[in-house]
């Protein structure tokens, strides 16, 4: 049986072209970008080239900053902690949507112990931020508002342009976690008027271990990592040159191929949704239209998501994801699924499919059959 990987939102493989481009940096051109000899200069050039390519993916202008980090979690931490603490004189209020990643929530929670106030903005049952509540929740002392471009669990794309207008009218800086959206839909920081953007390499077919924070010109951020002052003083520590160069090349490829690839995946995705929703008591989660083109998310009543994941993997060699509590370390139900109004028992039965390079339309029947078999088998075991 052939494996069918449907969990691209968790991690992407490194694109062969990316690997070919960057692997020399691990072996031959292994220099430290801070050093001045030729090895160092080659490494430095690799990092600077990557910076330009990442900037192009989100249409950043030459005066803006791209700061490389170890990944999206670190970029989110730098954005929230670094921007809030550096601009503390402007105010001590923070806002975030209820479906942000935990690496946005936890820095905000940490700041709330240092006297900041932290306001969670609810979303509607499709996952779209409630604009009226956002408007009410923002004040002239709201220094950082964080709203993701699109959600990884339910695929919903937020109206970022509208949100940025409101944030800039009433508060200060808008941080957008674009980890799930980048490379899937076009992101234009100038058109959308965004101050801070988080990006991740391993969601773009780049290597794990690199991410980036975009910082708009004029937005002041202080460092979280202290040391040798790399990355314009904002991220000390020797650069992960291989992963950064890989991320740059991955961003270049994504920028070039996104339109066509998203169109291709959307077709497969639409068929999967259509077929899977024919299963009894199967429901789509997230927004029906305003959703990432490679993303399909469901819930099934009377069964549990970790069991779905295991059965799909073991019986069918198909890898999916779930927001079920039982699959998490904390055994807590997904805050995203609860935020869109699902009851705990409903959130337990979730299944998330995210498509990518290796998927094609010929896989659709096998996937649908596997989902159907899994749901039927687990329902036979279920007393509900």
């Amino acid at each position: 049986m052939k494996k069918i990987y449907l969990d691209y939102a968790s991690s992407t493989p490194v694109d062969e072209r990316v690997l070919d481009f960057a692997k020399g940096l691990l072996t031959d051109n292994f220099g430290n970008p801070t050093t001045l000899h030729s090895y160092g200069l080659r490494a430095k050039k690799a990092v600077e080239d990557a910076r330009e390519k990442v900037a192009e993916l989100i249409n950043a202008s030459g005066d803006d900053k791209i700061i490389f980090t170890s990944g999206a979690t670190e970029a989110n931490n730098l954005a929230i902690l670094g921007c809030a603490l550096r601009n503390i004189s402007k105010g001590k209020k923070l806002a975030a949507s209820a479906i942000e990643h935990i690496s946005v929530f936890n820095p905000m929670k940490s700041l709330s112990k240092q006297g900041f106030e932290f306001n969670i903005i609810p979303v509607d049952n499709t996952g779209i931020v409630k604009m009226a509540v956002l408007k009410e929740g923002l004040g002239k002392d709201t220094v950082v508002t964080s709203i993701m471009y699109a959600n990884n669990e339910i695929g919903t794309i937020e109206p970022i342009k509208e949100i940025s207008q409101m944030v800039h009218k009433k508060g200060f800086y808008l941080h957008v976690d674009a980890t799930a959206a980048a490379g899937k839909i076009p992101i234009d920081v100038q058109k959308d008027d965004i101050d801070l953007v988080t990006l991740s390499s391993s969601d773009l077919y780049g290597p794990q271990g690199a991410g980036a924070l975009y910082i708009r010109k004029g937005v002041k951020v202080q460092s979280v990592m202290l040391g040798g002052g790399q990355e314009k003083g904002l991220r000390s520590g020797t650069e992960n040159v291989f992963a950064i160069a890989g991320m740059g090349e991955a961003a270049r490829i994504a920028n070039e191929e996104m339109e066509e690839e998203s169109k291709r995946l959307r077709k497969i995705r639409d068929r999967l949704i259509e077929e899977i929703l024919k299963i009894d008591e199967a429901y789509l989660t997230g927004h029906p239209d305003q959703r990432l083109p490679h993303h399909a998310s469901f819930r099934f009543s009377r069964i549990e998501g970790e069991s779905i994941l295991l059965n799909m993997d073991m019986a069918h060699q198909i890898q999916i994801s779930t927001g079920s509590a039982c699959s998490s370390k904390t055994l807590e139900a997904s805050h995203v699924l609860l935020a869109i109004g699902l009851k705990h028992e409903e959130a337990h039965g979730s299944m998330v499919i995210t498509l990518g390079h290796s998927n094609d339309s010929e896989q659709v029947p096998a996937v649908v059959d596997a989902v159907r078999e899994t749901v039927e088998r687990l329902r036979k075991l279920s007393p509900l």
């Binding site: 970790e306 069991s307 059965n311 073991m314 039982c326 705990h344 075991l381 279920s382 007393p383």
Partner: protein, 128 residues
């Protein structure tokens, strides 16, 4: 056990659960858990001469909830009910070559469901 997932035994019981189903007119019935928390187990037993002659279960829950339910039915089938009452969650987890730490509560549920079914059997005998 290293926290890297389920043992082969857990996966085997998850994929091929033993003694799934219900028993009509059981001698004892136990139900524990709550779908809100993500797991619900039902255990049915038949008892003859103080021994568990048949046992069936139905479980809504994660892989380890299903595997522990299946495992415990295999362990106690044919066992004296007083012995079966002594089966602990630790015994079930051990038989499965261990469970990830955060999943130990699932083995608790399986033992609880069995004990509830035996208690129900005893109560019925007293009343009957």
């Amino acid at each position: 056990m290293a926290d890297i997932g389920y043992s082969d035994k857990v996966l085997d019981h998850f994929m091929k659960p033993r003694n799934v189903g219900t028993i009509e007119n059981p001698d004892g019935y136990g139900k524990v858990g709550n779908p809100v928390c993500g797991d619900l187990m039902e255990m049915y037993i038949k008892v003859k001469d103080g021994k568990i002659t048949d046992i069936k279960f139905k479980t809504f829950g994660c892989g380890s909830a299903i595997a522990t339910s299946s495992m415990i039915t295999e362990m106690v089938k044919g066992m004296e009910i007083e012995e079966a009452l002594k089966v602990t969650r630790g015994d079930v987890a051990d038989e499965l070559d261990g469970l990830p730490p955060q999943k130990m509560h699932c083995s608790n549920l399986a033992a609880d469901a069995l004990h509830e079914a035996i208690k129900d059997y005893k109560k019925r005998r007293q009343n009957g």
